[in-house]
Every structure is written in C-alpha cells, then in structure tokens.
C-alpha cells in the first residue's frame, strides 16, 4: 500500500499486534487508524490542534488535546508499549526532554524525521540557499536534524537506537544514509 507518508508504513510494520500505542502529535489520527486496522493496537493520541482532535474523534479515536510536553506528563511511568513521534521532533521547543519523557511513559519510542543531511539539502546550503525551512515558505519554525545530530543527542540522553531504518521515498537506503536518506525512523529504548 502506497501512502502519502512513507514512514507510516514502516512504523506500522515495526509495531507488534495488540500492543499499547501512544501517538504524540497524532494529527488527524490517520496513523493510529492504520495501526488499529492492521495491528489491533490499543491506541491513544496527543494532538494540539482542535480541528485535528475532532477528526480523531470522528474516527472513533480517543485523543487528549494539548502540547506534547503537557500531554506526556499525564501518563504514568511505563503505561505504554510504544510512544510515536512521527515528523514532530523538529517542531518541538525542547526536543530532548520529550525524548526522555516518551521513554518514561513507554518501553519503546519510535521517532521519524526528515534527514537534513540529505545531499540535496547539503547542496542547497552549500550554494547559499540556507538549511531548513525557507524564509518565504510560510512553514512553521522547525529544526533541521541530521542523522549525526540524532545519534549524538540520543547517546547523550542514554537512549539506545535499537533499530534505525532509512528511506528515500519508498526505497530502503542501506549505504551512505547520512547523505542519501530522506526519511529516517528510529526505534528507541532506554539503555
């Protein structure tokens, strides 16, 4: 099944059936809905946008509206099997505490983000067009995260990257991911 968000298919594959899954920044609930259908998970979400929360309720999902930081604090230690942060890490005010928090409430974390070290991004930066979102793009403020940054940050937090999968579109990238991966998905756990 081709999807608008290739990382979702990978995340769905990574998660065992019947587990408890918390999606942080779950948007309109599309990923959780897929997980429900394909893996019969026990699904919940945290989402800050009211319209998205409504869309989730319309799908039959239970969602706590609010910021991820504030939402995470509501959950007890180890109350989830998986906490997902898909394409959200770069938009967080304080990403590192959130990584720590998600591994407080869940045994495993799944984090996906766009690789800012992809050769096109490097070329763009090298030719003077800057890194990250463009001034005139109208997109919200977001960090540009490279694989090396992610490795260093997780190591410093005492987080192990148990599996790390790289993709370019729907193509799996094995060699030179730091240059060739567009999307990367890490399965994390506390060391």
């Amino acid at each position: 099944m081709m999807s608008r968000r290739p990382d979702w298919d990978v995340i769905v594959e990574l998660i065992p059936a019947g587990t408890r899954v918390l999606d942080l920044g779950c948007g309109n609930g599309e990923l959780l809905a897929r997980l429900l259908v394909r893996k019969s998970v026990f699904a919940r979400g945290v989402e800050h946008d009211e319209a998205n929360v409504r869309a989730c309720v319309a799908r039959g999902l239970s969602v706590r509206q609010g910021d991820i930081e504030e939402g995470l604090a509501d959950f007890a230690d180890g109350s989830w099997d998986y906490a997902i942060l898909s394409q959200t890490l770069g938009c967080l005010q304080r990403p590192l505490p959130v990584l720590a928090e998600m591994l407080r409430v869940a045994r495993f974390g799944i984090v996906s983000f766009s690789n800012a070290g992809h050769w096109r991004a490097r070329w763009r930066a090298a030719t003077g067009r800057g890194a990250g979102t463009e001034l005139a793009s109208g997109l919200p403020l977001a960090r540009s995260i490279t694989l090396a940054q992610f490795r260093a940050a997780t190591a410093r937090q005492g987080i192990e990257i148990k599996e790390w999968l790289h993709w370019s579109g729907t193509r799996r990238i094995q060699a030179w991911p730091a240059w060739r991966a567009r999307t990367t998905i890490g399965l994390l756990r506390r060391r």
Partner: protein, 385 residues
C-alpha cells in the same frame, strides 16, 4: 412522554450531610423511546438554574424551547430518534423537584432554611433512584455542562457499573476558591435583602433585589471579556452621550439589570442558596488522597470539553481532571474549544459541540461495555516483541 412528570423517588433519603429528607420528588421529562435492550438511555444534567425541560417535545405543538433546544431532538447531537433522553430537575431546585420552597410534610409549610444542605452526590443519588423507577439499569451516556458536568462526573464515580460514557462540558472535579468566592457573593446579595428574612419569605414579598443582584454576579461569570466587548462594548442605551449620573446608561448595565430582574420571575432565592452551596461542596478528591484515586474504579469513557475563554471553570481545571483520568488509564478524550463565549459557551457553541458529541456517542454505542479497562499491556500478557 410529552411534558414534565413528578416521581417520588424515595419516602426518605439519607443525605451526605447526615440529615434525612423525605419524601423526595424529582421532576423529569423524557424524549424518544427506550429500546427493548434498554441500552440507549442518556441522562442529561442541567446547570445551576436549569430545569427538566431540556428541549421542546416535537409531538406537542407550541411548546416553549428548552434550555438546550439546539442540542436535543430528532436529528440533533442528542438524537431523540435514536436515544432515550431523560432530564430531571436537581434536588434542591425549584422546578418541581423537592427543594427549600417545597412543603415540609412535618409542618405543612415551605421548608425554607430548615431544608437540609444537599450535595452533588445527593442530587445524583436521587437521579439514580429515578432511573431505577424508570427501569434504566445502564446509561449509554450521562452528559452535562457546568453543574451538569459535575453530576456526570459524580455519576461515573458513584455508579461506575451503570455509566458507559460521560460527557463533561465546562466543568471541574473540584470547585475552586474563585468559584466558591463568586457563589458566596451571590449568596451574600440574597442575605443582605431584608425581604429574605432568613429564608422565611414564602407567602410574602420575596427578596427580589437580592436575587437579581445574585444573578447579575452570576451572569458576569458566564461571559468573558471578549464576549462583553463584542456584545456591548462601551455602547450606551437610549442615549447619544454620557449622562454624567448614576442612572444605568451603558448597555452592559441595562442588560445585567434586565437579566437580574427576569431571573426573579422564574427562580427561588433559597433554591439559589442551596444549589450554589452544593456546587461549593463539590470536590471529588474529598475523603481521598487525591483526585486520581477518585477515578480508580471508573469504567466509563469520557469526553471532556473546556472552552478557552471560560474563567469560571477554566481549561486548566479540565486538564487537571483529564490528568487524573489518564493516570487511571481511563479512556478519555479532551478537547479545548476555542471560543469567546466564556462559560456560557457550552450552551452556545452547539454547532461545534454537536459533531463531537455525535461522534463520541456513536463510538460509545459501538464499544462493548467493559466493566474493567485494559490495564495490562500486550507485553505483560506475554506477547513479546
């Protein structure tokens, strides 16, 4: 049933405060039909000054609209073609249920201040007896805003096995100091009226000035700075320029006076004292280590909605409630609706509430009722990775 009915729910009821009260009557109205499996009943709980008439009965032409007319009826959020809706007037109020204006059978005269203090738990206990009388064992949902939301919360805690879902709008699990303060202002306004006469004004001139002032205080707490600015601003009524005097001239002044006056035509001053007191005593953490402990045995799933400009029960209080629910792994959805309507938004933002409520009720109707929640993870059950 097409109009208000009275049910004697108990010859005598022991109240939370220790006093005995009897007989206890509740006024109620019902809408739609209870299905054969008796699993489509929804209890709607009203706020401070509401009554059992939540909506007009479509089969009765010319009936006055109810207090939640836009939300209850055929095809509406609480769709009476699908659900059997029950709404009762709370214990202690003055719309047919037993309250301070009712006749005390021991004296043959209105109770007045000899009426015992009632709490939200007592209100819910009386409703429970009413549902028993109606043959309703399980509620598909219990829903309400403000004091109505407190009743919904109390229901889910007191009778976890009878409530499949709770819709809690613009409410709190514990009355805050600010809300107690505002209620006390309203009560002091009534006490200060000489006509109140320690509540024994029945048959004489009631404390209209005190009750009107109490309502004005209350009414301000239901609005917001933004809604008052939009609705009234600094506009004058019947004048082009300032009168430089004390006669009410700003539109907000005349509006409040009008609201206060109208309220005296429909509400009993003592009932306002009793119902506000019940709100003040409401605290689900009472007698427990913390709020989370209150929800330990809750089996219902929740829709909790707050409104961004509600300063009477602000979103932070709903979030506190949601945190206590989530810590117990209760199935809870929380929505903060952006609205300028203040506390009154739960009565006014019907369009936006309707979709949420409809989807949530559909979800509830689908979910099989689970007496106990899924606490155990797949890992704990040995599924492994």
């Amino acid at each position: 049933m097409s109009s208000v009915q009275i049910q004697t729910v108990a010859p005598e009821m022991r109240l939370q405060g220790g006093a005995a009260l009897g007989p206890v009557d509740l006024a109620y109205e019902t809408y739609g039909r209870l299905n054969e499996r008796k699993d489509n009943a929804i209890l709607i709980c009203h706020a401070l000054s509401g009554d059992a008439h939540v909506a007009a009965h479509p089969e009765v032409p010319g009936q006055r609209p109810g207090w939640w007319e836009a939300a209850v009826g055929p095809g509406k959020a609480f769709d009476t073609d699908r659900y059997f809706v029950v709404c009762s007037n709370v214990l202690g109020s003055c719309y047919g249920s037993t309250g301070p204006a009712s006749i005390d059978p021991r004296t043959g005269r209105p109770y007045g201040l000899s009426f015992p203090i009632v709490t939200v738990a007592d209100m819910v206990e009386a409703q429970r007896r009413l549902l028993d009388a109606l043959g309703i064992e399980k509620l598909l949902a219990v829903a309400g805003g403000s004091l109505g939301g407190m009743q919904a919360l109390q229901w889910s805690v007191a009778y976890p096995e009878r409530v499949r879902s709770a819709i809690v709008l613009a409410a709190t699990a514990s009355s805050s100091a600010q809300s107690i303060a505002l209620n006390e202002l309203a009560r002091q306004a009534i006490y200060a009226d000489a006509n109140w006469d320690r509540g024994s004004y029945y048959g004489r001139i009631p404390p209209h000035a005190g009750l009107a002032l109490a309502r004005m205080v209350g009414h301000v707490t239901y609005l917001s700075e933004a809604s008052m600015k939009a609705k009234f601003g600094r506009r004058l009524r019947h004048r082009e320029d300032y009168g430089f005097g004390f006669a009410p001239e700003f539109q907000i002044e005349t509006y409040l006076q009008h609201q206060g006056h109208r309220f005296t035509e429909r509400f009993d001053a003592n009932a306002l004292l009793y119902v506000t007191k019940a709100i003040d005593y409401f605290d689900l953490a009472y007698g427990r280590a913390n709020l989370a402990e209150a929800f330990r045995d809750v089996a219902a799933h929740f829709l909790v909605v707050s409104f961004s400009s509600d300063w009477l029960y602000p979103p932070a209080q709903s979030k506190e409630l949601v945190r206590a629910l989530l810590q117990n792994d209760v199935d809870a959805t929380y929505v903060e609706v952006r609205s300028d309507y203040g506390h009154d938004a739960f009565l006014l933002e019907i369009e936006r509430l309707a979709g949420l409520t409809r989807d949530f009720l559909a979800q509830t109707a689908e979910k099989r009722f689970q007496a106990r929640r899924r606490r155990q993870s797949a890992f704990a059950q040995g599924a492994g990775i």
